[in-house]
Symmetry: C3
Subunit: 159 residues, 3 copies
């Protein structure tokens, strides 16, 4: 009897391209029957934000963070800052031309494949997010939960 | 009977220093008899470009990408943008002074050690590269091939 | 009899937030009885610098590097350059407000938990550091030592 393989991705980055890479690997692994978890921490949490403005009560600094950070997967920037000209728009155009799957669609696909989307509770507290501002159906956990999965994992990546 | 160990590196970054780190680990692992694969995706693909201008037929946007991105390992920039003064040139000078191996030489060494250099087919399509523009002797594959290697791998890294 | 699990982190980045993430995972893993090693390479070495100015004899270029790079964990910058307004100061304020552990404290905690803090000897040579400039009680090693740990590791991450 063979045990189910597992893939555990820490998504630290809030960059559109890095998040795409993470979600492509995750969806691939789920298709190959891995148990897959994406643990969103620090800037990676922005991929899980709802794109509409959710009205919640917040202190001044939490409000500022909320305003300054991108609201949802579609708003993320690029990791590669060397070429001012290749902006997220140009990448998105190219992706459309090639029928590549957008990040919001990759996240939808991940949900349909029962990939565990986890928000790092420490980051949620630190950046002052309220649960209403993040996608429904995600989990909240900390480093202990991550380690419990990853210590038996096959493919562990920090992105 | 012990199985051969394996190291599987996803090189996502197109930064000179990060690519160096990846190739140093890869060459080290090959020297310790690991089966080693470097899967070049997104900006990491630039490390596999030929440094001369190869004439191929392309659409306008593909041509633009080709012009804007660095042509080959020797042209990559640095990941660390905090210190405007430490440019790739200064790093390369320091490396020469210390007889450290340059990135193009590390790639040559990787080929001689039979490390699998893989270009992500999706990225090749997305950025509009033609095979003539990339190094000879590399493979083209997707996330399924990566996962087949990595799920049994010992050292899996995303760089 | 079960073997001790192990976590092996390559800290390549010299960013405050990425180093924090690495040290949080490392301290968590140590608390769960993993054997933990953090291998500091390239810019990650700056986290191990003493914060005072140590007088050592150096050539001009080594002196320049020493001046240009942050002196110790508390001086590191942020990875996320998209929002000019979210500086390390703002993050540190938020962390203080939430009683989150600062990076220097996370490093102290790592020492108390007997996490192996390793400085990459190649980087030390390349950037012209003297051992007096780095923290006491750390080890110096190369890629071979890293691989010997990581090839039997459970959680291997490149940060």
């Amino acid at each position: 009897m063979s045990e189910q393989k597992s893939t555990n991705i820490i998504l630290f980055s809030g960059d559109y391209d890095k998040a795409m890479a993470g979600y492509i690997i995750a969806n691939g692994a789920a298709a190959y029957d891995h148990k897959v978890t994406i643990f969103h921490t620090f800037w990676g949490l922005n991929a899980l934000r709802k794109d509409e403005n959710v009205h919640v009560k917040k202190g001044l600094m939490d409000k500022m963070f909320g305003k300054m950070m991108p609201r949802g997967a579609d708003k993320l920037g690029l990791s590669n800052m060397h070429f001012a000209g290749i902006g997220p728009k140009m990448i998105k155009n190219v992706m459309k031309k090639h029928n590549a799957t957008s990040l919001p669609d990759l996240i939808e696909m991940a949900k349909m494949q029962d990939i565990n989307l986890v928000a790092c509770q420490m980051t949620v507290d630190l950046l002052g997010f309220k649960r209403e501002e993040l996608m429904d159906g995600i989990e909240y956990a900390g480093v202990a939960a991550y380690l419990a999965d990853a210590e038996n994992g096959n493919v562990n990546l920090f992105i």
